[in-house]
Subunit: 349 residues, 2 copies
C-alpha cells in the first residue's frame, strides 16, 4: 500500500470515537433537508411533512459475533434489532431497512436463509419493510450491514446533546445481562473445545442468554413514554454500556451527572453469573454493553408520570458541568465514570 | 455451525440473483410510504411531497478491490460514486450518504484518512451530505458499506420494469473501459510480484485506468435528459456489464431486445487493450462491468431530442417478449445474450 506514510497512528491508540471525530470534524451539511448528520444514534432528514431518521450498523464475524454459539436466525434478528434500537432512541418509528451482506464460501444457501429468517422475523414483529440491500462474497467470514430508516414528527426527534442539570436520568429494563450471557457462552465454548461431547445445562441462565442472543428494541418504552405524554430531554440506546452512553450524553450536553449504584437495575441471573465468575455485577451493568435499553433524561416535573410506566428505573441526575460524571457507591464515596476505549476492538470479544 | 443442514446448496451454484430472488420472494411491503422495495437500483419511499430514494452497496477487499493497485483515496471516491450512480439511475438526485467501514488492524489512521479524503471529495463534487455511518474492526481486510439517499418528484422515479417494445435502447459514454483497466492492473500486478522494481509505462492507458480506479456517476446525462425534456421509459446503471443489465430490464419489463454490436460505444484505448490481450472488444463491452454508465430506454418520439445530447449512443431496440434478447453482429446472424453467473464471486477478480 503506497498510501501509508512513514509516521502512522494506530487505530487502537486513537479509539473509535477519536477516529470518528477525526474523520468527520470538517464535514459540513449542505442541504436544508439534512437536519442532523454525524454525531447521534441516527441522522434526521427533512423532506416536507415528516422528518426521516436513518441509521446504519455493521456486524462482523469474529468481532461482533461468534458462529460457534450464535444461531444464524438469532443473528439475523439481532442485526435488525440493534438498528431499530437506534431509531427508537431518536424518538422515531422505524419503517424500513436495507440489508447488505458479504458472505464467504463456507456458507450454504440454507445457512443464509436461516439468517434471513431471523431478519424477516424481526421485520414482522416490528412492522418493518425490507426495501433493499446488496449481497456479495467475502474472502473470509460474514459481514452484515443494515440501514434503518424511520419517521418522526417535525421537531420531535430527541438528541443526545439536550440534557439539562436537574433532569432525572432513567434507564429501561435491566443492565449487564447481555454481557453476562456472552461471558457464559464464551466459557461454554472453551469447555466445548476441550470436550465436544459436553452438554452444558444452561436452563437456569435462559434470561441472560436470550438477552445476548436475541435482544429486543424498546418499542414498548418508546410507546409508553409517548402515551404518558413524556418527551425525554435527551436519549440514547445502550449498545456500548451505560458508562459509555452516559458520557456521550454528558459530553454532548455539556453537563455532569450523578449515577447511584444502588439504583442500577440488575437481574438476579446477571448477579448469579457475576458471582459465579467472581465479577462485580456493577461492572457488568456499567460496562457490559449490548443491552439495547433506552437511556434517557426527563424533566423532574415528569417524575409522577414516569411512575405509571413499568420497567423504568431512575438511576441518577444530570448535574452542572463542574460536577463531572460520577458513580456514587452503595456506601460512601464516588468514582469518576471513565470513557471506554476503542469499543469496536473490544477486549470482551 | 449447528444451523447448517446436511443437504445444502452452494451459493456459487445458485448465483447472486438466484440467491436474492430466493431470499426476498416472500417479502411484502407494509407501509404506504414504501413505494418500491427490493428489485431495482434503489428503493423509493414516499414521505409526503418528495419521494425518497435509498440505495446501498458493499465493497469488500479481495473481492471488489485490490489495495496493491488501488489508491485508498480513489477507493473512497469510487465507493461513493457507485452508490450515486444507482440514485441517478432512478432519475433521482442524491442528497445524503451514510458510510460504514470494517477495518482490520493492518490499516493506520492515515490510511483510513486517505480513504475518507476520497469519500469527501466525491461528496463535494456531487453535493452530498455525509450523514452517518458505523466504524468497526474486522478480522482481516477492509469492507466499506455505503447507503445513498436521494429525492425525486412524486411519480418521476424511473424503474427497470417499464420498457416497451419499440423503445430505443440507449447508453451513455462508452463500455468496457473499466474492465480493460482492471485487466491491465492485474497484469502489472503479476509483473510487479516477479520484479518489484519494474516501472510500467501506463501513460497510453490513462483513460481505461481512470475508468477503473476513479469512475464518475453520470449526473451530466441525468441533467441533460431532464433539460431536453426526455424521461426514459426504463433505466438502470451498468455495474455488472451491459449483458446483465439489459437482461434485467427485459426480464422485468417482459420484453425482448435487439442490441447492435456495431453501435456499441467502445473507446480506442479499450480496443487497444483488447488487442494486446487477444480479447474481443465486444466481450469487454458486453460483460466487463463497472462502467457506471446509464442504460435506458426512450420512446422513439424522443429520438430527435436525443440527438441534441452529446455522449449518448442508441444501441438497439426493445422488442416483444417472443423475440428474446439478442446481440446482432456486425456481419450476419445474432446470438442470445446470456445471463451472467454469480457476479459477486466474479472470476475476473
Amino acid at each position: 500500500m503506497a498510501d501509508t506514510q512513514e509516521t502512522t497512528t494506530q487505530l487502537k491508540d486513537l479509539g473509535e470515537f477519536g477516529l470518528i471525530e477525526r474523520l468527520t470534524k470538517d464535514i459540513k451539511l449542505q442541504h436544508s433537508s439534512s437536519i442532523k448528520g454525524v454525531g447521534d444514534d441516527a441522522a434526521v432528514l427533512d423532506y416536507s411533512g415528516k422528518q426521516i431518521v436513518v441509521t446504519t450498523d455493521l456486524l462482523v464475524e469474529g468481532i461482533h459475533f461468534d458462529l460457534i454459539y450464535t444461531p444464524l436466525k438469532h443473528l439475523g434478528y439481532k442485526a435488525v434489532v440493534v438498528n431499530l434500537s437506534d431509531v427508537y432512541a431518536m424518538n422515531a418509528v422505524p419503517k424500513q431497512i436495507t440489508v447488505s451482506m458479504a458472505i464467504s464460501g463456507k456458507f450454504s444457501m440454507e445457512a443464509v436463509e436461516l439468517l434471513y429468517q431471523g431478519i424477516k422475523k424481526a421485520c414482522n414483529f416490528y412492522n418493518i419493510d425490507l426495501i433493499g440491500g446488496d449481497t456479495t462474497s467475502s474472502v473470509t467470514g460474514l459481514t452484515i450491514s443494515i440501514t434503518a430508516i424511520g419517521e418522526v414528527e417535525k421537531g420531535k426527534a430527541v438528541y443526545r446533546n439536550t440534557a439539562k442539570p436537574g433532569n432525572l436520568i432513567c434507564v429501561s429494563g435491566d443492565l449487564g445481562a447481555a454481557y453476562a450471557g456472552l461471558l457464559l457462552l464464551k466459557r461454554e465454548k472453551e469447555v466445548f473445545l476441550v470436550n465436544p461431547n459436553s452438554q452444558p445445562d444452561m436452563s437456569t441462565y435462559d434470561y441472560v442468554l436470550e438477552r445476548q442472543l436475541k435482544p429486543e428494541a424498546r418499542r414498548d418504552i418508546f410507546e409508553a413514554l409517548k402515551n404518558a405524554g413524556i418527551t425525554p430531554t435527551a436519549m440514547i440506546d445502550i449498545s456500548d454500556g451505560l458508562s459509555s452512553e452516559i458520557l456521550h450524553i454528558c459530553k454532548q450536553s455539556g453537563c455532569g451527572a450523578k449515577i447511584n449504584e444502588g439504583s442500577l437495575p440488575i437481574d438476579v441471573q446477571t448477579i448469579n453469573v457475576a458471582e459465579e465468575l467472581n465479577l462485580d455485577p456493577t461492572l457488568l451493568a456499567m460496562n457490559g454493553g449490548e443491552d439495547y435499553e433506552l437511556l434517557f433524561t426527563v424533566n423532574p416535573n415528569d417524575a409522577e408520570k414516569l411512575q405509571g410506566i413499568a420497567g423504568i428505573s431512575v438511576i441518577g441526575e444530570i448535574l452542572a458541568k463542574e460536577k463531572e460524571v460520577r458513580l456514587f457507591g452503595k456506601g460512601e464515596g464516588s468514582t469518576i465514570i471513565k470513557a471506554q476505549g476503542w469499543n469496536a476492538y473490544p477486549e470482551k470479544e
